[in-house]
Amino acid sequence: MKITDLQSVLPAFQGIKSRAESQWRELRDGGKPVIMVGAATCGRAAGALEVLRAIKDELKKQRLDCPVVEVGCMGHCYAEPIVTISKPGYPPICYGYVNPVIAERLISEFILGDDPCLEFVLGALEENDLVPSFSDFPRAKFEKKVILKNCGHIDPEQVEHYIANGGYAALVKALQMQPEEIIDEVKSSGLRGRGGAGFPTGQKWEICRNAGGRPKYIICNGDEGDPGAFMDRAILESDPHSVLEGMIIAGYAIGARYGYIYVRAEYPLAVHRARLALRQAKKLNLLGKNILGSDFSFDIKLFQGSGAFVCGEETALIASLEGEPGIPHYRPPYPATNGLYGKPTLINNVKTLSSIRYIIQKGAEWFASVGTERSKGTAVFALAGKVVNTGLVEVPMGTTLRQVIFDVGSGIQGGKRFKAVQIGGPSGGCLPESALDLPIDFDSLTDAGAMMGSGGMIVLDEDDCMVEIARYFLEFTQRESCGKCTFCRLGTKQMLEVLDEITKGKGKIEDLDMLSWLAEDIKAGSFCGLGKTAPNPVLSTMSYFRDEYEAHIKEGRCPALMCRELIAYYIIPEKCERSCDACVGTCTVEAISANKKRIKVIDQEKCVKCGTCLDACPPQYNAVVKLSPPSQVPASK
């Protein structure tokens, strides 16, 4: 870049930055309490918008004038809706499980009065003498927030918040570097693609930079489709500018002119916030023609995918962007040299791109100091399933699964026993307890039969049937298969048929050999990554939980008491209370009646195994049980 350009970049940004900082200072140190409401999708699903309305109404009623800010997801999704109040004289306090009534109390008792309502506190954001802070939580020892640092602490709809917290400084620094220097920095940081495959990011950038053909494109892959994964959504909803900044830097480094953010339309809030961020960045000339007065021009458009899992595969994603059906194309040539409209195209995951600013700002060495030998930086996981603290987690690569599930996630809900953890979504696998001490990185997870994937982590407990879990994921891939190639279209369908039979107790032992044989062929023979990894959930459960498969086939028994066809509900006569009729009333098909002694009995012929009687039976009796195989039910006298 020309020297004259560089001279204009810094002052141009200084103005923007000082305006943003003064706005941020006004908010933080304006002498008024600041109320922040977590209003990402996780918060909204838990009722954050109602809480927000209650807060605003109460403030109006009390004639209080204090800023109310909508922020993104802090990662404590289990405790949503979350409200953070920063009142002068107090540390910023975070309240969890807030409902409109609690919200009103917080206003009247804490904002108006001086009672910080300790009973609703989740934790304080800073260390203090009044309430325990998040840094005192056991999980704090294992977490390291890098790309999630801003999430839940700034208003994602205010670009000034992002800039005041160090945003776009990396872009300014990058614009003063040579593109090759940036690529070298990314290369030596050891950053690997966070979309799942873990391809070295710097190398991809270099290939794309050296590729002939213009214009070049950058695509941000936000087509997050794994069941149970929500990392990319949370980042786009909570800190969209970090993704934009990464894209602009990438654009400068590889010499691209245009970028696309590919987000699925099922993420309306992410779409809205990313669009808003694009408009704001454009207005500040952080995007568009001659960015900050330099000779680098770059534009980004947002494209809404219509929600096909296979579109996460890069060639299918490109086809979808071009208006074609989202069906993978043969590689090579790879998109880096021959992508969108046949031009060199860089496709990076949301998390990969939002890591870039830290690498540029803090240096490759700093980034590489976190993590393991071959997997650098942090890993972001969406912790879901039967774990106590569901939510977003960011830990250094190399942290063990046990630390993530038991220390950060606080273990299994309801004191149940851990059975397995499903990592990597439909392409990943289920790992048993014996694998819990595996360090989380790209290679060790693949070696164990799972994969890093994009970061979905579903925790399973003793009530989850591994055959059913495998069947569930296979049903997902079968439904989401584009149908182009024989192995994925018909092979996964055959596997699904067999698993269906096994969960219904109709499996044969020789089916298991057929399953593993076919699974190997699908892995080796499929056209794209979706097919090649589709058998993983089956293969991993078959290798770690073969006893469960055999119990289904040989004994017609589902050890986890999950497979409906292999269980029966039974009321233990000794435990059933004569005067209670709870189960009779809830039974949807009138299958329960009382006998002469007023003991309730289930008519197995009529029972549809919905389980409402088990839920209805008062815990002091606990008379309804599930039995497997159904022949365990004693013959009625």
Binding site: Y330, G483, K484, T486, F487, Q494, F527
Partner: protein, 232 residues
């Protein structure tokens, strides 16, 4: 154009630089099973997964239709790994194909029969479940009958109609097991822009597309194409 020499099944052959292994083999009289390729389609569709071969130095079998030839390359079309994948792929196709050859006008010219014979696979496979779909047969065209149940989704007809002829009546719809070749809006062929040229019927390797009334024409059209391809 430069020529490259390579060895396929122990036979030294020559082919143009940049050629795919599949065509190098077929041109030299070495048959490799295939359903989804067409010579004039420059981008291999690689969908049928039948043309697996083993290449010396590669750990895994590769599809011959996507593998570019190299000087001194050693290809084995009959390696156990390649045959295993090809057989599984064929059996999967047959398990979802109404094998009713006795009543099928394409019997004798059907490429599934030919490939099954080549690979030593029985047409009525035992290994997999029979998974058929009950789709409506479209006999609205004055020229041909389209039976989607017999379709193996190779995509030849789609490509010929759309790319070679520029008409674009046929296309793919739906995903996964439900994927099907159909017209825009899934309407009858007679109500589409079909020009009744019958090129799709000629392209079809199975009995999914067959000429009406002229059973003889069907067979000869198929035979002619199969013969030209193998003898080329």
């Amino acid at each position: 154009m430069k020529t490259v020499s390579l060895t396929i099944d122990g036979k030294r052959v020559k082919a143009h630089e940049g050629e795919k292994v599949l065509w190098a083999a077929l041109d030299n009289g070495i048959y490799v099973p295939n359903l989804c390729t067409l010579r004039d389609n420059s981008e291999p569709s690689a969908a049928c997964r039948l043309c697996f071969v083993e290449v010396e130095g590669k750990k895994q079998p590769v599809p011959a239709c996507t593998e570019t030839i190299e000087q001194g390359m050693v290809v084995n079309t009959k390696g156990p790994g390649a045959l295993r994948l090809a057989r599984t792929a064929l059996e999967l196709l047959l398990a979802s194909h109404p094998v009713d050859c006795a009543h099928c006008p394409s019997s004798g010219s059907c490429e599934l029969q030919k490939i099954a014979a080549h690979l030593g696979v029985k047409l009525k496979t035992r290994r997999f479940r029979k998974l058929l779909r009950e789709l409506l047969v479209d006999s609205s065209s004055p020229v041909f009958i389209y039976d989607p149940n017999k379709c193996v989704l190779c995509g030849r007809c789609v490509w010929v109609c759309r790319e070679r002829l520029g008409i674009g009546v046929l296309g793919f719809a739906h995903r996964g097991f439900e994927r099907v070749v159909t017209t825009f809006g899934d309407g009858p062929i007679a109500e589409s822009k079909c020009r009744d040229c019958g090129e799709c019927v000629v392209a079809c390797p199975t009995g999914a597309l067959t000429f009406k009334d002229k059973q003889g024409t069907v067979k000869s059209a198929h035979k002619e194409r199969v013969e030209t391809e193998t003898t080329q």
